[in-house]
């Protein structure tokens, strides 16, 4: 049994993973190194291997520990027959919901979102493990409904099934992870045989809806801001500085059109009127955020739509990331020589923006190699989907592959400025324990399906 598992592993997949992890460890070691004095000069003359010794190993050592933990989890997951997992899917689903609810009450917030739960000295991100659990349980859910996914009505239970954990994650709020869930759901529905036309229709509808949400927010937000500006100007004028009004002919005409003069008494009256109106506009704006996305998420969308509108504020991250990648050029600046990284212009560079470090230090050659490795990984994953011995296994593999694909595409797209910033890490590459363990566990599950591709083996 043990030997058979070893014999039947997908070695190209394992090899690709190993290369990716090695690449990742080097990049993390480089990304976290900061120069605060002229020590950068020592590095200039060194060859690649000497430079490896000068990296910052603090996070590398940790990441290696996470990898080992992940490998253990993966080994366990390979060993258990995946079909046994299906038996516990109902329990797993409930555990998942409980865990996500716990985050809302016990979670520690960071960067404006509650994502972490602390157990003793360790913290973990339940939403990461939730991804895997959803794959396991939803695959079972779909496997039982195979052939009955041809109408919208038949699809609705599926949406509800995935929708509940998604809502809990949105509550954290973590838009990026919820999008991962939705991507996995569509990937698995597609594999399970849902009619592609319906799926495409729903996706299109979703896009249209998010675009209108964006536009509606733009309208609400702008009228709120404009109102505030008006109030500021009128109160300035009421305070005796009429230049501010004279300079703004439009506002002056508006006031006069409403039958107010420009003397202090009338202006104060008009000010009260404006304040009342503003309250209405403000509550409308706030109500919008209460039921849809938060202001910061809308800002991210705005930045994505118009990246150069605020290079020093909200657009800073993406802009610095683009500078890092672009300035890397064809062959890169060399390990530990990236100025964007080591002079700390590039933010959160060992986690979400690690790809930019690759782009800066290894250039187009480096990113092509990395994309190639990721493609091999995904390609081997797709092979496993096809080779799975039953529907459940096939759906498991499809879910895992879509999860990886979504992570990779969205993260790289974000660093290159072609996708909005969503805070999704680069699979198998970004620093982070929960994510690494989950990714390796997912690979373990994938290999599980591969190892058991032929019924007769066991």
């Amino acid at each position: 049994m043990y030997r058979r598992v070893i014999k039947n592993l997908d070695y190209p997949l394992l090899g690709t993973t190993a290369l990716l992890l090695l690449f990742s460890l080097i990049t993390i070691g480089s990304a976290t190194l900061e120069f605060t004095d002229s020590s950068i000069e020592q590095i200039q003359g060194m060859n690649f291997f000497l430079r490896l010794l000068h990296m910052d190993y603090y996070f590398v050592v940790r990441q290696v520990a996470w990898i080992f933990l992940g490998l253990i989890v993966a080994a366990v997951l390979i060993y258990i027959d995946y079909e046994d997992l299906a038996k516990y899917s109902r329990h797993l689903y409930l555990i998942n919901l409980a865990m996500l609810t716990a985050v809302i009450f016990l979670g520690t917030s960071a960067l404006g979102a509650q994502r972490w739960i602390y157990i003793g000295p360790f913290s973990f991100q339940p939403s990461e493990f939730s991804k895997l659990i959803i794959i396991i349980t939803f695959a079972d859910f779909l496997a039982k409904r195979q052939g009955r996914l041809n109408s919208l009505r038949e699809l609705i239970p599926c949406f509800v099934y995935v929708g509940i954990p998604v809502l809990l994650i949105l509550k954290q709020p973590d838009l990026g992870t919820s999008l991962v869930f939705i991507a996995m759901m569509f990937g698995m529905l597609f594999a399970a045989g849902a009619r592609p036309a319906i799926l495409a229709g729903i996706i299109a509808l979703g896009l249209v809806m998010s675009f209108s949400v964006y536009e509606i927010h733009g309208y609400l937000h702008n009228s709120d801001v404009r109102m505030m500006e008006k109030i500021a100007q009128v109160s300035k004028a009421a305070g005796g500085n009429d230049i501010s009004l004279i300079n703004n002919g439009e506002l002056r005409r508006e006031i006069e059109k409403k039958g107010y003069s420009l003397n202090a008494g009338d202006l104060n009256e008009y000010l009260d009127l404006l304040k009342k109106e503003h309250q209405r506009v403000r509550s409308r704006h706030e109500a919008f955020h209460k039921f849809t996305l938060q202001e910061y998420q809308m800002t991210r969308l705005t930045i994505f739509m118009n990246p150069e509108s605020d290079l020093l504020g909200a657009g800073y991250h993406v802009w610095q990331s683009r500078i890092a990648i672009g300035s890397g050029g064809l062959t890169g600046k060399g390990l530990l020589k990236g100025t964007q990284s080591h002079y700390t212009f590039l933010p959160i560079r060992h986690t979400d923006f690690i790809f930019s470090v690759v782009g800066e230090e290894f250039g187009f050659v480096g990113v092509t190699a990395l994309l190639f490795l990721f493609y091999i990984l995904l390609y081997r994953g797709v092979r496993i989907v096809v080779m799975a011995r039953d529907t459940y296994g096939m759906l498991l593999a499809a879910g895992i592959v879509s999860m990886f694909a979504f992570h990779i595409i969205v993260n790289i797209g974000m660093t290159a400025g072609v996708m909005p910033v969503t805070g999704i890490p680069l699979a198998l590459f970004s620093y982070g324990g929960s994510n690494m363990i989950m990714n390796l566990a997912a690979l373990g599950l994938l290999l599980n399906v591969y190892v058991r591709r032929q019924k007769l083996i066991f």
């Binding site: 683009r322 964007q340 002079y343």
Partner: protein, 744 residues
């Protein structure tokens, strides 16, 4: 239900294709960024992490004719802020404003105001990542406070930069002018000269005229910085080149005396003499010119102010106060005053040259001429040309002035340079006006009666009234021309420009504008008249009672023409009478009588001049001392002055000179160049020590000729001052070698 392998395979094929397409799209995007646009991003990355930090070059210094430094540079702390666009920039500004509150350089400004100031500066400074200077001349205490909280203040830079410092405060203020950050307009008009925002620029006075010499060339430091603006490493350094120094013609002692004297007179005027509403600015001016070169020894404009206020953030209130008081104007060149009787030398010149009178022509003065009264009731008796000047006899000038007419008088006024630009090397010189028919017509245009030139206008003009209005520098230059026999020099304030390494870059030689077309005889009579003014019962003689030098002068009491019947007090003079060296003009606005206020001021100024001359002469003689010392040494043991008179000055035993030398040493401790090594410590108790030297300053002791010893009495005979840190290799023996020290 059994798995439909075929369907899955088909779907996965589609999936793989879509995946490949997306990856290719990503790769295309990355390739576009990293290959096509790489240059642009590389530039952006460089802009991110490389900074060119300007290193301010010190401006040239301004030195008086004896090497005393009037304007120097003082290193001060400056605080700059690099706007990083970080989310907490607002907090940084808040904190910084709080720390700067109460600092001397920003006295009286509340944190809120400082904060607004900083924000405005940042807003006005369009280029990101470049430091914006927030405060200059910050105290050590504040710097410590900022350093303590360094980590909370990303982007805040503390630097040391040279700023202008005026050791004598208000001395020569309006003439020196002030320096401020270059304005946008100046930047525009001097675009090709390499100025940059934030550079210093001379705004007025000599600082303005000689801007191109004084300005230094800023250096730069190229550094790599991290995202917080903290320098990580140096990439290169271009040293700043200091500006060239100006050696002026000013003698700071004469200037001090003149400025104090005029200020005193203006104060007197304010306290009772002037009949003006309180708060009316009262001005005063004086100019001292070397009659043989046109060099300006002193130029006074009162009210004055301490130039050091311009080295700090200037408050609008303070600036407006100065502006209102007239302190920012150089009244010696920018305010034309009615000359009154000081004009009479020009009138007399016109009368003599125009043959209206000859030197012997006399009048019997009854105290009036026609309808105009002389200043002295009862008149002056029989008055000839010399007497007319001596007594300032209005009747004489009424009489012949009306005969001469405005053209003739105006011609000779112009001949002396009155009502014309002198061409002095200062910006903003005013021309003034000489009375004339045209001028009167222009002023009274529309008034048929008044716009015509009348006989009384000629009479007024002849005594320096009417529309005659001249500046103090014109008057001084006019007196100088009378004194030197008719040569008009261009008055100038700068002798030479010295480069930072001490080489003469440019020298300004005396420049003759023209020889006045006036005969020797006429000038002799005018001079004789001026001499008599200052002697005996002359109108201006009281002021020069007991002066150890001979003066020629003229008083002036110029009617302002206001209801309160105010008049300006004027006094012009030159000295010594026989061999003129220096001409003085003094104007005290509303000072009533030239003889009562102008005279004493002129006296103080001329006293200071001759005193300074005496001091210098002592120094010059001491300068020659090494030779004298050597020569005298054999005889010098206790026998000063027995054989060679020079020994007295050289070898010591000349206490007064020695004291002066000591004073000199105190006032100019770092003085080099011109007087380097010359002033001696005269009265050393060891006569016969070759010469004297200045051991107060190590380098100076090695320059100049004044080597020799202030050796301690314990080691007689060892000549030569020992520069600190250097011992003579061979102790010189005897007096013969007592001259040059080991440093020469």
């Amino acid at each position: 239900m059994e798995l439909d392998k075929k369907a899955v395979e088909k779907k996965m094929k589609i999936f793989t294709c879509v995946l490949a397409a997306v990856f290719l799209l990503l790769l295309t995007r990355l390739g576009f960024m990293q290959i096509v646009e790489a240059g642009r991003y590389r530039t952006l990355a460089t802009q991110n992490h490389q900074r060119l930090i300007t290193v301010q070059a010190p401006r040239g210094e301004i030195i008086d004719r004896n090497g005393v430094r009037l304007v120097v540079n003082k290193p001060v702390y400056t605080v700059s802020l690099v706007y990083l666009g970080l989310e907490d920039s607002g907090r940084t500004v808040d904190l910084l404003a709080g720390l700067l509150e109460g600092d001397v350089s920003l006295k009286g400004l509340a944190a809120q105001q400082i904060r607004q100031d900083i924000e405005e500066k940042i807003k006005g400074h369009q280029r990101l990542y470049e430091p914006v200077r927030v405060a200059v001349n910050v105290s050590q205490e504040t710097v410590n406070k900022i350093e303590e909280r360094r980590m909370e203040l990303p982007g805040v830079i503390i630097d040391v930069e040279p700023v202008r410092y005026y050791p004598f405060g208000d001395l020569l203020g309006e003439v020196l002018g002030y320096v401020r950050e270059i304005t946008a307009e100046q930047l525009n008009s001097h675009r090709d000269e390499g100025y940059q925002m934030g550079d210093s620029f001379g705004q007025t006075g000599l600082e303005y005229t000689y801007e191109s010499y004084l300005r230094g060339r800023n250096g730069a430091r190229q550094v790599e910085v991290d995202a917080h603006g903290h320098p990580v490493r140096d990439l290169g350094f271009k040293s700043p080149v200091p500006g060239n120094s100006l050696v002026t013609t000013i003698d700071h002692r004469v200037q001090r005396a003149a400025q104090d004297a005029v200020a005193w007179a203006v104060e007197q005027t304010r306290n009772g003499i002037a009949k003006v509403p309180p708060g009316t600015p009262i001005t005063g001016a004086a100019v001292v010119i070397d009659v043989n070169t046109g060099e300006v020894l002193a130029m006074v404009s009162i009210p004055s102010y301490d130039l050091n206020i311009f080295s700090q953030p200037l408050q609008a209130r303070k600036y407006n106060e100065l502006l209102k008081a007239g302190a920012l104007r150089n009244h010696a060149i920018q305010t034309p005053y009615t000359p009154g009787s000081t004009f009479k030398m020009a009138t007399l010149t016109a009368l003599l040259e125009g043959k209206v009178v000859d030197p012997k022509t006399t009048i019997q003065d009854p105290g009036y001429y026609k309808y105009k009264k002389d200043w002295k009731p009862g008149g002056h008796g029989v008055v000839d040309a010399v007497g007319a000047i001596k007594n300032s006899c209005d009747t004489y000038f009424y009489h012949f002035g009306s005969m001469a007419g405005p053209e003739l008088i105006g011609k000779y006024a112009a001949e002396y340079g009155l009502g014309q630009l002198t061409g002095i090397d200062l910006p903003g010189e005013e021309k003034g006006t000489v009375a004339s028919r045209e001028l009167k017509k222009k002023i009274w245009a529309g008034n048929d009666w008044e716009s015509e030139w009348r006989e009384y206008d000629s009479m007024d003009m002849a005594i320096g009234q009417q529309e005659n209005k001249f500046t103090a520098v014109q008057l001084a230059n006019y007196v100088a021309a009378i004194a030197n026999g008719g040569t008009i020099y261009r008055p100038h304030l700068v002798k030479k420009v010295v480069s930072p390494d001490g080489a003469d870059l440019k020298s300004f030689k005396p420049e003759v504008v023209r020889k006045v077309n006036v005969s020797r005889e006429t000038l002799d009579i005018v001079r004789e008249g001026m001499r008599q003014v200052a002697t005996g019962d002359g109108t201006g003689s009281a002021a020069f009672w007991g002066a150890p030098y001979r003066v020629a002068a003229k008083t002036g009491t110029a009617e302002v023409g206001d209801k309160a019947q105010n008049s300006h007090a004027l006094y012009v003079a030159y000295a010594p009478y026989e061999k003129p060296e220096v001409a003085v003009s003094v104007i005290i606005e509303y000072g009533y009588k030239g003889s009562s206020l102008g005279g004493p001021v002129a006296r103080k100024i001329l006293d200071a001049y001759f005193q300074a001359k005496k001091e210098d002469a002592g120094e010059i003689r001491k300068e020659q001392a090494p030779g004298a010392g050597q020569a005298a040494s054999p005889a010098g043991q206790g026998q000063p002055g027995a054989v060679q008179p020079q020994v007295r000055q050289g070898g010591g035993a000349s206490p007064p000179a020695g004291q002066e030398g000591a004073v000199q040493n105190r006032t100019q401790p770092q003085n080099s160049g011109g007087t380097g090594g010359t002033p001696g410590q005269g009265g050393t108790p060891t006569p016969g020590q070759g010469g004297t030297g200045r051991n107060t300053s190590g380098t100076d002791a090695n320059t100049g000729g004044g080597q020799g010893g202030i050796t301690p009495p314990a080691s007689p005979g060892s000549g030569g001052g020992v520069p600190p840190g250097r011992l003579p290799v061979q102790p010189p023996t005897g007096g013969n070698t007592g001259g040059p020290g080991p440093g020469t």
